[in-house]
Symmetry: C2
Subunit: 242 residues, 2 copies
Amino acid sequence: MTDAEYVNIWMRPERAAYGPTPVHSRAKITEAAVRIADAEGLEAATMRRIAAEIGAGVMSLYRYVPSRENLIELMADQVMGEIDVTDLPSGDWRADLTRYADGLRNMWIRHPWIATVQRSLPSFGPNQLLLVERLMGVLDAFVPIDENLGLVALLNSYVEGTVREEISAAMEVRRSGLSESEWMERSHPYVDRLVKSGEYPIFTKIVMEARQPHLSREDEFRHGLQRVLDCIAAALPSTAES
Amino acid sequence: MTDAEYVNIWMRPERAAYGPTPVHSRAKITEAAVRIADAEGLEAATMRRIAAEIGAGVMSLYRYVPSRENLIELMADQVMGEIDVTDLPSGDWRADLTRYADGLRNMWIRHPWIATVQRSLPSFGPNQLLLVERLMGVLDAFVPIDENLGLVALLNSYVEGTVREEISAAMEVRRSGLSESEWMERSHPYVDRLVKSGEYPIFTKIVMEARQPHLSREDEFRHGLQRVLDCIAAALPSTAES
DNA sequence: CAAGACCGCGTACAAGGTACCCAGTGGAGG
DNA sequence: CCTCCACTGGGTACCTTGTACGCGGTCTTG
């Protein structure tokens, strides 16, 4: 079976039970890559950089991982594993989904590069799969599976959409290499021009509003989450009241 | 003012009013790049490829666009302009938001690479800004601006989240270079192993369900959209009934 | 103990973004 | 009309990055 014959990284055994004892491991490589991506962005996690991080030769990585793309899949699955879904479902679906949503949001904030990686069902890794199992188990007793899929998708979309927005400005600041205040300073003329043009009254309203004291990101998130949960509640039969 | 001094691509004039008449234009370059990305993915839209497409030298592109990253911003704004939001708000907020959601979804399906580009408010281009104006204008009369932001974010998240899911499998198929049936064939052993392991009952349920006849993507989208609109309705004052 | 599969990893190459340079062009000032 | 020079298209070259290939050493199996 040649390399290309494997469906995905999860079907490929890490090592064969033969030959010298490996010095490194997928786990070590993945952790190093995640560490670099967290600190400097996914594009900084080059094969050379990762190899340097763990004190390996660049090409040694390819003994453990078939390609950088596959490594990124490993990274994605790894951070999915950080979301605590033990003991789900607990019986209180609202509490369960809230816990999940918080966990997902915090994970994204810790690993903002996750926003740039595509994932699809057939390439789900073990952590991702377990997450789906536990998460969808929460509503499984109340609704048919496709309704469940829709509701979970709604929740996921809400969380990811919200966090994406939170993240994107922060990512741009980092990408520019400027400090946050320098970056704001730099953006000012553009925003100012738009506001002064008078053509964007609502944009202007947003900018003005942003200067007012308002809810913290956290509270804003909670508020929107309640809305989504209410929306989900409306789709459940009355037997699901918690 | 050196190149780096500009806030973003929108603050930088396309050309100076001096010297020989330019042969190309930002618009032509952007359109070519979008065409390539639509057909072969964003990573196929290299500077060399784009230059070849419009019959220009590679380095000529840099007379119009400071960098590939900025070009991608131009592309993103361009396709945002394809969403028809003329005459919004019409007075019927539900119809307006439905039209917008459909437009957004169709645009994403036409340009799936959009899923991989990050966008943030301070780098919004004219089309994106106009879209925000018109879209948020729909609910502006009914709710305060931060509530409006939250509701619009919910709608956007739903649409983008849903389309991302639709797209991701399709993108993976293309990336693999296989035909869809070959790809399904290839995935089979993995899915089979998971199902047979018995450890993933809900995943199994999803897979089984997928073999049953079910709603079309389109209908599924509409169904979920209704749910989101109901959720938005609940957040509006009674004066907003349409 | 011989064999062969596997180990770490150096070398080398292809692809892609882009800095730099050059010759040619055409509007502004004389 | 001529001169000047900021601008034009674009060729060459460099740097970064992913990764194919091969080598000398190692460890399990027959």
